[in-house]
Subunit: 224 residues, 6 copies
């Protein structure tokens, strides 16, 4: 059954924006090392860092019809998350769809498939994380669903989850954990700032983190 | 039998240049979604967009001898297209060969294998699309052929076909279809320009393309 | 048995620096086409070219404890070379470890696994060649070894070997061959400079390298 | 937070067994083409066809501690489903664990990682679908969870879902849909039996399925 | 434009059958090491060795409609060769289609995509070489073509070419070269039979093939 | 420089044979989880389990000349270990070479590349572990070396090391550690036999290995 869910809960954009500034590596640690998509999801242009509320799309292989359907469900601060029902490298998305999403305030696209018009997307400043880049076109013949739970690049994404994406990858933060994830991320960043200063001054992690005893206890031996 | 075909028919560079400006995604659509190489063919540096007449080279694995032979067959406006007879990631091509090709007016290289000297190639502004980047050297011991039909990255390339390559991939346009492909591409671009303006103004693809009835007929359901 | 070898022989940095300026493709040829890591080892940012003395680290999958141990063994002019005992794409290394290595004069990281904080690493100017980029965190629970022989991306690396890395890949030069490798590399560069000038002037490699007779002897045929 | 959920709802084994006899391809079609794991999940020996109730395990990379924990939660008719939190090809599982599972009536293992002792597993008649085969050992140092929702090979698996696995792959049937899936699968099998007889007698699918008009309407042309 | 070509030239089955008995490795050598499909094309069951006349099918990704169209074009001694227009691992083909093909005397299937019902196909004795095995279903919505030239797994296949397939892979013999390929294959087999006897008796290839001088001339050194 | 080392030290075949009967998983554990080749090295036929003394061969891509050279260096109880200097899937080895090796008492082949004639190799009972299967032929034009240290599938192999190979993969045991590895392997097997009996009787690994306290200490929680 193909459905489009119109009303989904979203997270306040102040929290979403703060998560973006923490970055995926920090949020991933704060979340107990869960929620990261596979490492083959790469940004199509260098430098983007965004966060947004997920509008999810399940599409048929090489068929982008449901992306057109999904556009209407997007609003300011959203990120479109697209996964095909079987692996496909076709170019589901290009600058026309990006133009449409941009007009609605959408912040980016996460797609476990291919995209095209990558130079134009960079010039528009529209961020995309994809598995492939390909000029290959798609058809419009098979239904899928919008705003249902999907698995994208190995991660479960529920509509309304917060997506954080940067040059290190793509994180999914379940909506109900977004506030807590932010709090833990900021604590972690504060701590890292102090560690960074000590490391820059030449102190060793072995000493700062107090690892020497544990290493010796495990049996590590030093040879000259 | 190893052969070098000296005389091949080419396409007028005015048509070739116009195809370059259309880009691979557009030309691919205009061609009925045929002729695209596999998506693992990637530009070694960012921003190149070229078109040219194909000089084809069939090479042995890890043996670049025939590329040296092929250089002599190239002229202004050509693109060298190289495929090994079995998969190989060695670096068949570097800045010396590029220097030689550039001196003959060649516009770029398409190779389903590896290249090296990629910083130098970018500094020279010599465009390359390859499957791999590798410093691995090759030998000169086994013959191949120049200007015979080859399969490169899943696409059939006949000598004299028009190659269009940009950040979205590499397209092969059969020589006899080049004029028609250009005409259809330009029609498509004109149409897209109008659509783009409407999408930027906030209209939905669902309405512009008139998709709502077809979606409903297929059974798409909206839930609140 | 997990060990850390403290004293390793290194190569004079004058030789190391000169090898860096030759580049991997040239040094690879000078070494008889040996010592190159697999082509999946790619720079995480564009433009880096370095050489240094290898401090080697054997790590458990998804466990970066031994990298912290290895930092203490590094000094000015070193490059850290890390290989997991089974394939892993986790992000073993980020900007905190880079800060620590930089404070010790380390020139870069070669890792057959993942790294994270790639934007920060680029901003710091800290060069990394890796197999993956991933925000995925690692644990600190299993010992490994520092400064033992390791296999990294298909190449044997002994502690103290010279690593040369640029946009074409990563080369390992056995320590005792570093001087000879430099000498042969420089000879090769001199020769290439002359060839480059002739090629740029339009001469053909077929003639410069005297290939025509050998091609004919092998049976190459020219057709019109 | 690492948890082990002890009480999970399961499906009656009569339904589970009937689903096994339908096979993955049929159940996949009956489920609207959803729920299939990625095609890299392959049986380690030829001929197995099983179904069972899922006990799920989330494990750290190269750490099989939680599989030992999960054994205790298994009972007659279960299938263990294991996914690492980042990709790993290590051999998490061998004949000792299989001996233990067999003693509890467990019907098989689905693991998005590696297994070892594959000859012994075949001799025991213990079915396994895995992504890799590897003798590589694992550690016991990091917690995970048992009977939480996991993503395994691209499919969401909730504890208690029905797993159907055969030579074509691995299907996940959400527990609440098991009865309906069976009903639809059996209807499909009945229909296919009739079609098979007609095809074997030489009738064409073009005629049986009445495709000729639709093909003509789409513009298919026959040439002599 | 989607077309079905009804009349294609085929090769006499006596020649086809004789090529089957030569095997792919021998025919590949006889053909000057051309015409081999990529090594990812593997038999789905062990032991099949066939040859036949190619009926080619170009299909859309995850859409098997044209295979139904192609069945009607097949006759005794044919092999169906299927390639999607972009990479796809879906299961395009199962035992119902095999039943239909078998009723027409078709000898096997070569498909650069997925198949399902692999146990049933083995029980039927219907040989298949594919890139993937997957229960994933396909749709019937987009046209393709039958009996046009296609690229399948890196090899150009024209309708009516002879396909030879065994446990070593899949070979394409252009129709007009089939007789010559057979003659050269048989000569090669005769020669190998003699060599085999000498090798079995303990003679060395170094002596039988007279390689020692060439090795020494190249500079090979023996050390004690 | 290409060399053939004629005299290498080997391990007594009694020890070698005993290692074969232990299997790769056990020997790998006994060796501290080192020495395993990558998991893409797979047996070409089901059921083989062998051990032997390594004769190593470094070959050029798609060039099997040095395998012919290596045959002469082999004797009763050896295993040939072959690695190309850059990745290659060509079929370096078939039944003629196997006939020659068999005549000399060689027990099998380990090759990080392709082989062909796989049905014939199975019929001969000649065991092979390879990365690929391919009918693709190779040339005889470039020298390599025999009995030098090589890296094969991620593992360092010195001539005379003991190779143990079975359905779980391929292990390299450094020659000087062969006796110790055997001793530790047998101890491990004895211990496993006892554990197996207890597991088969229904005892849990959690209790046999005494894991419950450690799990609780790490914070594992049980929920109902």
């Amino acid at each position: 059954m193909s459905v489009v869910r119109r009303n989904i809960a979203r997270t306040d954009l102040a929290i979403v924006d703060a998560l973006a500034s923490c970055g995926t590596a920090t949020v991933h640690e704060a979340m107990g090392r869960t929620g990261l998509m596979q490492s083959y999801m790469r940004p199509i242009w260098r430098g983007a860092r965004v966060a947004g509320n997920a509008v999810t799309v399940s599409v048929a292989p090489a068929d982008n019809w449901m992306i057109h359907v999904a556009v209407e469900q997007c609003r300011e601060g959203d990120i479109l998350v697209v996964a095909p029902t079987s692996p496909c490298d076709a170019g589901y998305f290009g600058e026309l769809l990006a133009t449409s999403l941009k007009a609605r305030g959408v912040r980016g696209l996460i797609i476990e498939a291919g995209v095209r018009d990558v130079m134009e997307l960079e010039e528009m400043g529209f961020p995309v994380w994809s598995k492939h880049i390909s000029a290959q076109g798609t058809v419009k013949g098979t239904l899928g669903s919008v705003n249902v739970p999907i698995v994208c690049a190995g991660a479960l994404v529920n509509p309304g989850d917060v997506i954080v994406a940067d040059q290190d990858g793509v994180m999914v933060v379940p909506r109900e954990q977004a506030g807590k994830a932010l709090e833990l991320s900021q604590t972690r960043l504060d701590k890292e700032a102090k560690t960074r200063a000590r490391l820059a001054a030449g102190e060793l992690g072995l000493d700062i983190y107090g690892m020497r005893d544990a290493l010796a206890a495990k049996g590590l031996r030093y040879l000259d």
